[in-house]
Symmetry: C2
């Protein structure tokens, strides 16, 4: 792991632990035992570090999404994979989810990338639902407008569940996964057969 990668790893850890409000580049450098000057030799601006972390998140996400292509899985299996996969992502990049609005306005490139991602994600979900409708595992009587709204709803829940969990004072990791799993499950509950 070269210095650049070490900086990214250290930044991710410190941001996750303390949030973006109080953490400084000096602190990140200090925690990993290099000078602040050195850190800024590798990343001219703090934004560049965060953007690099976001790119990592995107790569992780793409890897996870590949798993959805096993079209022979039952809907329940798929749902479980989605839940576990997205939880891992949310947990790994906590601070991004917890400060998403601020980060997106601070670093517009991240907002743009997110919007592109959402568009792709939306289509994928709709087509999955249609697929599983035909297999009789997902309700067929849902109007398309509602279905789109439901997808939106799932995204709000999965993208901001951690924010909610955090403000509700959630701490322990075991609680966290269970809470997330249940929230997603309940959202799907009325749509499954």
């Amino acid at each position: 792991m070269n210095t650049k990668e070490k900086i990214v790893a250290a930044a991710l850890e410190v941001y996750n632990r303390e949030g973006i409000r109080t953490v400084t580049t000096r602190q990140i450098a200090q925690e990993m035992g290099i000078s602040a000057g050195n850190l800024h030799y590798h990343f001219k601006h703090t934004e560049d570090i965060i953007f690099t972390i976001f790119e990592e998140l995107q790569r992780d996400y793409d890897e996870m999404v590949v798993l959805f292509d096993q079209k022979d899985a039952t809907f329940q299996e798929l749902l479980q994979e989605f839940t576990e996969g997205s939880y891992l992502l949310i947990n790994k990049y906590k601070f991004i989810f917890a400060n998403f609005v601020e980060i997106c306005t601070w670093i517009p490139a991240i907002g743009d990338a997110y919007r592109t991602l959402v568009a792709r994600r939306e289509e994928r979900f709709i087509s999955l639902f249609e697929h599983y409708s035909k297999l009789g595992m997902f309700r067929q009587d849902i109007p398309i407008a509602i279905l789109k709204g439901f997808v939106r709803q799932i995204f709000i829940i999965s993208d901001f569940w951690y924010s909610s969990f955090a403000v509700l004072g959630g701490r322990f990791e075991s609680d966290a996964l269970e809470d997330y799993r249940q929230t997603i499950e309940v959202a799907f509950y009325p749509y499954l057969i």
Copy 2:
């Protein structure tokens, strides 16, 4: 309106417009034409301003919630009132919803107050659902565990809808209300009769 109230009003406006990251007490003071020294005479710490705004939000919320007590309304009417009322709140205090995690960790008293509010809100919703179940306007076959999960879901959506709307690049206010209304409606869709 005395200076203290003016500061609160100005802070709310500036925070809503620019977020909490870049706004300084100096800027707030300048925009309202008073000195920074004067501002800090009225509010020793920036946190005190934000906490005061949060107290205002709580008062507004309590006022809104009173409207729910007309037990002769149909569920549809109640839902519409909830949607419009909560939208007004979210819109008025945008910046709090957009930076909720950060604010709650920065100012623990706000986190505490929120958690108390949530507990009250939860009970109220459950009892409303039970009431309307008996009247045949809300599904009766929902297990209590799911019902609680559903309430949680509604809270995530209403508390973080604005965050989602903001990162998706939403701007125009007319779009905003329509988007919020639809999201809430879709969430209730499978539970109504």
